[in-house]
Amino acid sequence: MTRQAEPSTISSAEAAGVDRATTGGVALDQRILVSPQFLLVATIVVFSAFVTLESPQYLSVLNWTNILRNAVFIFIVGSFSTYVLVSAGLDLSVGSIFVVGALTVANLLFAGVPIWLSIAVAVAFGVAAGLVNGVLVNYVRIPSFIVTLGMLYVARGLATFVTGGRPIAPLPEAFNVIGQGDIFGVPLLIVYAVVVGVVAHVILEYTPFGLALRAIGGNREAARVAGIDVRRISVVVYMLSGASAAFAGMLMSARLGSGQPSVGTGFELQVISAVIIGGTSMFGGIGSVTGTALGALVLSILANGLILLRIDPTLQNVMVGCIIVAAVAIDQFRRSRMFRGFRR
């Protein structure tokens, strides 16, 4: 695990449980120093303080509900893009699978198919696209960049062709509630994100599957000779990524109350940005769902705060670009401190 490089209450509790010379953790100050999460939280706090001075409504419950709700889509997909990157892969097709999910569910509902079945079919399409990605990457050995770039075009092209590229509305109210309702004042979208995030986090950090994922991303050959079924696990990762993208697309249709062919354009880059900003390494082995949560939050806060500051929204892209490069620079620095003979 890479937990020693990240401040975590769990690891310090463990350290106390096995408090012996050779199971001790890395000093807390060192962990914080090299932790991208620490810098992210600091950035969020400073930026929030600044925005609040200019525009007090920033801190309102309503505004924060908005910020979180906008982060939901990137986070749900980003959780599993984190898996893909941790296993040293890349999935550029999530934006297109997102629109496949959005349009599939809308068309099926419009044709009178029951809600549960429409959702199941939409997610199944995402799983199928992920299966194709995973098989081509692992069994045909085409680089993940190429495979998922191809899927980006194929999935969006098919979705637009089959549905005729027209918006689909209205959708049944019972369906729209899934994306628009709330429970005790908390939007359901946020509830889904929390549930998905917790499950994704627990699987990555505490199960043999998560450990195998890191091993594959850290050193694929070592994982293979250690008896890990590298290809099967990697295929499952792409399927999870596809499923989460289609699921999020379905949620988007419910939130909008219509199936929009234009959703999800450029979404894959936002997702990857959130994952990278959250401290997940492009080179595999290192990364966390909690980091991705912070990454998605940063993107959402920036978008919201810049509007409140009445700064031209196009400048947002400039800031996002700088943050991504800075995040990777920190990752490089961290690896050079952690690993001897690190060259890249």
């Binding site: 695990m1 890479t2 937990r3 020693q4 490089a5 690891s11 463990e14 350290a15 449980g17 096995v18 012996r20 010379a21 050779t22 199971t23 001790g24 953790g25 890395v26 505490y206 199960t207 043999p208 998560g210 450990l211 195998a212 890191r214 091993a215 991303g217 850290g218 050193n219 050959e221 070592a222 994982a223 293979r224 000779v225 250690a226 008896g227 890990i228 390494s281 595999g284 082995g285 290192i286 690896r335 952690m338 690993f339 001897r340 690190f342």
Partner: protein, 264 residues
């Protein structure tokens, strides 16, 4: 460890624990192994020496399940077995310490020691038990590391070697294959690896030691098998051979009839 020493009856000493018979392996037109055999006995070290390209690494990888041999037979305790995958080899109790060590730099020592077979608690990884187990094991082997929580990427060559060996010990390997275990090490670290080999040997494990270092081979091995161009050039008892004879076999000046390779 106990089950191994417990089964070390006289017959176990007489009969090889592992027998590789007439193994052949080609990569395209390149013949890496040509009817090569190898015998390893419990509580004994057999060294595998030879020039570059002699087939040592291929034989290691066949035993580890990384490569499948084209033809040949493998016996463990006299029973025929097949190894198609790395899991098969581990399941049979054949552990390999690879030359490139096959460690994951981004993972900590505990995760590397248990790589591919983590301790489980229900559907979860039992991380406290893995930390404890790895710490105990490294202490037993007197491998000094700051903490089993540090990533392997931050360790020295000797420490990495220690982690790789610890992993093979942990798999309860009855046969431990070590591919150039001291190649990257300094004098003190080499001595330590030698101590570990002696200890594993006295625990009744069969050790297959692949090395270029004839000093090390003569210090450690009970028998020396020389490979040349994928075939066995000769097998000698260490105490009844000389460095000159082994070098002669390696370079091909001396050649032993194939029929004499089988143990009496």
């Amino acid at each position: 460890m106990n089950e191994v020493s417990g089964s070390m009856t006289d017959s176990a000493r007489d009969h090889p624990l592992l027998e590789l018979r007439n193994a052949s392996k080609a990569f395209g037109n390149v013949v890496a192994l040509a009817n090569a055999s190898l015998f390893a006995y419990a509580g004994s070290v057999v060294a595998l020496v030879g020039d570059n390209g002699a087939g040592k690494s291929t034989m290691v990888k066949v035993l580890a399940g990384v490569h499948r041999m084209d033809s040949g037979e493998l016996f463990l305790d006299g029973l025929p077995v097949t190894i198609d995958t790395p899991s098969d080899a581990q399941g049979l109790g054949i552990s390999t310490v690879f030359q490139d060590l096959a460690l994951v730099e981004a993972l900590d020592i505990a995760a590397n020691v248990y790589l591919g077979r983590p301790i489980k608690r229900g559907i979860f990884v039992n991380r406290p038990a893995m930390l404890e187990g790895a710490a105990d094991l490294l202490r037993d082997l007197r491998i000094r590391v700051p903490s089993v929580r540090v990533p392997v990427g931050s360790l020295s060559g000797g420490q990495r070697q220690g982690v790789a060996i610890a992993r093979s010990v942990l798999q309860h390997g009855r046969v431990i294959v070590m591919d150039e275990p001291t190649a990257a090490l300094g004098i003190r670290e080499t001595r330590h690896v030698e101590e570990i080999i002696v200890e594993l040997r006295s625990n009744g494990r069969a050790i297959i030691l692949v090395s270029h270092d004839l000093e090390l081979v003569f210090r450690m091995a009970d028998r020396i098998e020389v490979l040349r161009l994928g075939a066995v050039q000769g097998v000698r008892e260490t105490k009844s051979t000389t460095r000159e004879e082994i070098v002669g076999l390696i370079t091909g000046i001396l050649k032993e009839p194939v029929a004499n390779q089988r143990p009496a």
